[in-house]
Symmetry: C2
């Protein structure tokens, strides 16, 4: 039995050596330390970076995301404020609050926590928060910079794509000339990420639910980003061991009450070169990128004095 | 000799049968007839669709493009106006003209003919013309609609991508689920086209100068869009006859004084399923799409009364 246990432990080591885990923690710590310094430097100039989150209703998922944002704000010394509105809030009341926050010089970043009630969904939500306070990076003006080819991460852009680039950079993955297959074309992840990867020199294929022969695409990719929201959808058959593919798992699915990615991690072990785990990968990178956006927004206000 | 000549003629027929030429003319005629009707209907309401082109200097290439725009305007019954400025025009003078045209209710579409003098290049050119008169489709607000997933061709968007979609539609090419490889990522063609193709259900790969192993991508594609600006760059080695690939040639290169595409058309004959010729393919589709944008802009003004 002793020997059997040792073998198991050796197998575990072998697993870690062959398929590298792209764990967010060291990258998050590094970025957070920079943000702490930048936040301190702002405070010395009398500016306390301040985030306002507007929440409609009280969905447990939204409250859990908000908790992470508040926690990370506290950790870097930024101010956090929650505006909770009832699900029956009228459009004019909702718009009035956003407008007040847009005008409030003490607020640097505004988030409209999604989803909102159905009767507010036709309000052109991405463009309600003014571009300079749009720390979610959803505003057309901020997307336009990605579209135009920017590789400057010190500007407001969607947090998950930004976090993924920073995770890849932390692990020294050079995107230039690589073939990246992004599966899923949401406005929050797939589309902005495909622009950003292209700006960094990758050849990008944007795949989606209508894609035929997805496997032949992912099997020929250097980088696969799984962002379709289906637990364990990608198993070893999607990857060619000879390509040494790097996989980023954006999935945040709940499976039997457990946070589960889009990639079946045990199945692809020893098949892909590296993979970001769920939890502990893209999620924390997204939150730290959001706080970075807040600091950028606060610094930009300072520059405009 | 008689027989030899007949054989040559039969070869030519064989050529036309196996690789279909996606000639713009019938598609252009069809769209132009619609535009004639729409223009007439506007005039009956007292609105004459009017285009203003702002040209800096007098480059022969620009003057030739402008000639085509003027001709097509005349053909559908729209008004055309050229504002020619010297190459030494100051930025304030230039901006004043654009501003006057933006404010002039009799003008429905404004084009800043590219290229402009170097000292004007940092002026945020795509966003100078207001979105409702931006018939080139370069303004951020208009790009944002493509980015958000629109498949509505009756809105202002870049003319070459729009013309390519309309050419494919004319020849009944269904994009859904097809793998499209777009080579070249300019803001005028490659980037907006890749968004548009994706919106129509294609799986899109955006390739460019840093792409490694371009041939393996184009050889696995259902649709290849060649937009790199290198005469005869793509020959038969880029295509797999078994895929029956459709090729759109966006190239407008001058080779020995002759307008030449990016694809060596004789080389790919019998290898690809269909190809748009140069000249007579994407060029005329682009011009007619520009005039369509003008009519859309004029109709939108009407609706807003």
């Amino acid at each position: 039995m002793e020997v059997h246990n040792r073998n198991q432990s050796m197998d575990a080591e072998h697993f870690l050596m062959t398929t590298k885990l792209l764990i967010a923690k060291p990258a998050v710590e590094e970025i957070k330390n920079h943000l702490l310094e930048r936040c301190l430097s702002l405070k010395q100039r009398g500016i306390i970076p301040s985030m306002s989150v507007v929440l409609i209703g009280n969905s447990p998922a939204s409250l859990s995301y908000i908790k992470n944002k508040r926690k990370m704000c506290e950790e870097v010394g930024a101010r956090f404020q929650l505006h909770q509105l009832g699900e029956d809030v009228t459009a004019p009341e909702f718009l009035k609050l956003i407008s007040q926050l847009n005008d409030d010089e003490r607020i640097h970043g505004i988030i409209i926590q999604l989803p909102v009630s159905d009767h507010l969904k036709n309000l052109n939500l991405p463009n309600l928060v003014k571009p300079s306070k749009d720390i979610d990076g959803f505003h057309g003006e901020n997307n336009q910079k990605l579209y135009a080819g920017s590789t400057n991460l010190q500007q407001l852009m969607p947090c998950t794509p930004k976090g993924i680039i920073q995770l890849l950079q932390h692990y020294d993955f050079n995107l230039q000339g690589k073939h990246a297959v992004v599966v899923g074309r949401s406005l929050i992840v797939g589309k902005p990420l495909s622009l950003l990867l292209s700006n960094f020199g990758a050849t990008v294929t944007l795949a989606h639910s209508q894609t035929k022969d997805l496997k032949s695409l992912t099997r020929s990719a250097d980088l696969v980003v799984a962002a379709i929201g289906k637990a364990n959808f990608f198993n070893f058959t999607f990857f060619d061991p000879g390509r040494r593919t790097v996989v980023i798992d954006v999935g945040m699915n709940s499976l039997n009450g457990k946070l589960t990615g889009d990639v079946e991690i045990l199945s692809v072990t020893n098949v892909v070169s590296a993979i970001s785990p769920v939890p502990g990968g893209v999620g924390p990178m997204t939150v730290v990128s959001l706080i970075e956006n807040l600091i950028i927004a606060a610094e930009t206000i300072r520059h405009s004095y």
